[in-house]
């Protein structure tokens, strides 16, 4: 991982918060925003909004000239950019313009106050973490998970054994409890919002004792913890170096309860393939034709839920298999019955 060569500017009085990525800063920094390619009317409107938001965003933002150094530069696609450095960039798009595939900072015109507030707070969060240039083949994973969501924080905690129960208060959603002993979780907001809640950056997480009265009253309604662990595993990146991954073979020791977990059909295939024998990531890719990132996310989810076991390369195991070429694997001995069935059933 290379450290970013772009330095980011946060005023000195928030340095104390630099180590804790979450929670509201005690005193506010001032950040500079440059927006290029707007009409005078659009610019006036945006300036008015930024002024209104002055005390509402986590950091103070000021609108600077196009060719100044800035912390966040937003611009319409295709226009010439000034040489002055910008710590973070994003695009300005009209409502009817199609969104680019990769996620990033986006300002949709005409601007809405809440959207601009979200954008500025999000930019502030991104600026507080050093930017990392990911290797190309990991780009997809990195963009799916910027490492600052609740899901990421939980994943890091859960990768080691869970020592305590947890309570997370999530801005805009509510409270999530993870009960270590009972291996259940519950929320005071609808479960349909869980995935969104897990992707939030603004939350406060606390370790709580297993016998906390607040926890006890909600244990009864708890759902199996696997249901949230699975989602977290799929959404966050796995801290495994490529070298370490190439040495390991993975086997399924228990199937996930797929009727209760949101999943894609590819996950069924992946489970099936490693339920028959232990395989390396490369072998799994060869057998299924699926991208490495999908496989890694899947294995991460399996690990968090305790569904898989890892063996070294030299384990006495089932029959070794000549690598099946991806195209042949996909058509399979049964004429690709799984994919055809999916089509017919609309899976």
């Amino acid at each position: 991982m290379q450290a970013s060569s772009i330095d980011y500017r946060i005023s000195a009085n928030t340095a104390a918060d630099a180590g804790s990525p979450h929670g509201i800063a005690a005193s506010r920094s001032t950040l500079r925003l440059a927006v290029l390619g707007l009409s005078p009317g659009e610019r006036q409107l945006l300036r008015a909004i930024v002024d209104v938001l002055d005390s509402r965003t986590e950091a103070r933002w000021e609108l600077v000239d196009d060719d100044s150094d800035c912390d966040l530069r937003l611009h319409r696609p295709g226009i010439d950019l000034p040489h002055a450095p910008a710590a973070l960039t994003g695009l300005v798009l009209s409502e009817d313009e199609s969104m680019p595939a990769e996620p990033g900072v986006r300002l949709i015109m005409p601007p809405r106050v809440m959207a601009v507030m979200e954008l500025l707070n999000d930019a502030h969060d991104r600026l507080r973490q050093p930017r990392v240039e990911p290797a190309v083949d990991e780009l997809i994973e990195a963009e799916a998970d910027d490492g600052k969501s609740l899901a990421s924080a939980l994943a890091r905690l859960l990768e080691n054994r869970l020592e305590h129960s947890l309570r997370a208060r999530i801005v805009g959603h509510g409270t999530l409890f993870l009960c270590r002993q009972a291996r259940t979780f519950c929320t005071d907001f609808p479960l349909s919002q869980l995935q969104d809640a897990l992707s939030q950056h603004r939350f406060v997480m606390t370790s709580i004792p297993d016998d906390l009265p607040e926890l006890r009253s909600v244990i009864g309604e708890g759902r199996p913890i696997d249901e949230v662990l699975w989602t977290i595993g799929l959404a966050t990146s796995w801290e495994r170096s490529p070298e370490r991954l190439s040495q390991a073979r993975f086997r399924l020791r228990r199937w996930p309860n797929l009727t209760r977990l949101s999943h894609r059909p590819e996950h069924i295939q992946l489970c099936a393939v490693i339920s028959t024998r232990a395989m390396t990531v490369a072998e799994i890719a060869s057998a299924t034709g699926l991208p490495l990132s999908d496989i890694r996310h899947f294995l991460h989810a399996c690990e968090l839920c305790g569904l898989s076991e890892e063996c070294g390369m030299d384990g006495a195991d089932l029959l070794p298999v000549a690598a099946v070429p991806a195209t042949q694997a996909r058509s399979g001995a049964l004429g690709g019955l799984f994919s055809r069935l999916r089509q017919s059933l609309g899976l």
């Binding site: 399924l252 020791r253 228990r254 199937w255 309860n257 797929l258 009727t259 209760r260 059909p265 069924i268 295939q269 489970c271 099936a272 393939v273 339920s275 028959t276 024998r277 057998a287 029959l319 070794p320 298999v321 000549a322 099946v324 694997a329 399979g332 001995a333 049964l334 004429g335 019955l337 799984f338 055809r340 069935l341 999916r342 089509q343 017919s344 059933l345 899976l347």
Partner: protein
């Protein structure tokens, strides 16, 4: 030439086999039911005495044929007839029955051939009526005998869930097929 794939749906009476097949089948399920005279053991009015038949058409006129066999032991000759020709088995267990784990053991023995082929998935129905044993208990039991088989909680009335179970069976069979040297 069109291919056909036969999938058995088995399990004790009342587990929801006929319901599950109806949830998947494109055609109205062909049933062979008779009035249940063994009301002491089961309160259902009707019981399957030969088999339930449903089908799913795939692209290219191939078909998946679903055969639901009666649950009671006295009809085990039906199980034998169909087991030979089956791609795999969807075993449905009723979690509200007196001894679902015992049922699991019995069916694993009865369908030893399919078991050995690893062509089996397990759907546990009526977990809303009776949450115990939980899926972990079933998994433990399977692990004790060295098996790793899918165990899903299942509402046999829900097409999406039954689809997931069937899709899993097929994926499992395909995975096995491609790993034979």
């Amino acid at each position: 030439m069109s291919q056909e794939y036969i999938v058995l749906v088995a399990g004790p009476m009342g587990a929801g086999k006929t319901t599950a097949i109806a949830a998947l089948s494109e055609i109205p399920v062909v049933r062979t039911e008779a009035r249940n005279t063994d009301l002491a053991r089961h309160s259902k009015a009707l019981t399957t005495v030969a088999l339930d038949y449903g089908e799913i058409t795939l692209s290219g006129h191939d078909k998946v044929r679903l055969y639901g066999v009666p649950g009671q032991d006295r009809f085990d000759f039906m199980w034998k007839i169909l087991e030979r020709r089956a791609l795999g088995l969807m075993l449905l267990l009723d979690n509200a029955a007196p001894d679902p784990i015992g049922d699991l053991d019995r069916y694993l023995k009865v369908f030893a051939d399919l078991d050995q082929r690893g062509a089996m998935v397990i759907g546990v129905t009526r977990t809303d009526v009776n949450p115990q044993p939980d899926t972990e208990t079933y998994n433990e039991r399977l692990r004790e005998s060295g098996r790793v088989l899918p165990v899903f909680a299942l509402d046999a009335r829900e097409p999406r869930q039954v689809c997931t179970l069937l899709g899993t069976l097929v994926a499992l069979v395909e995975a096995r097929a491609t790993t034979v040297v």
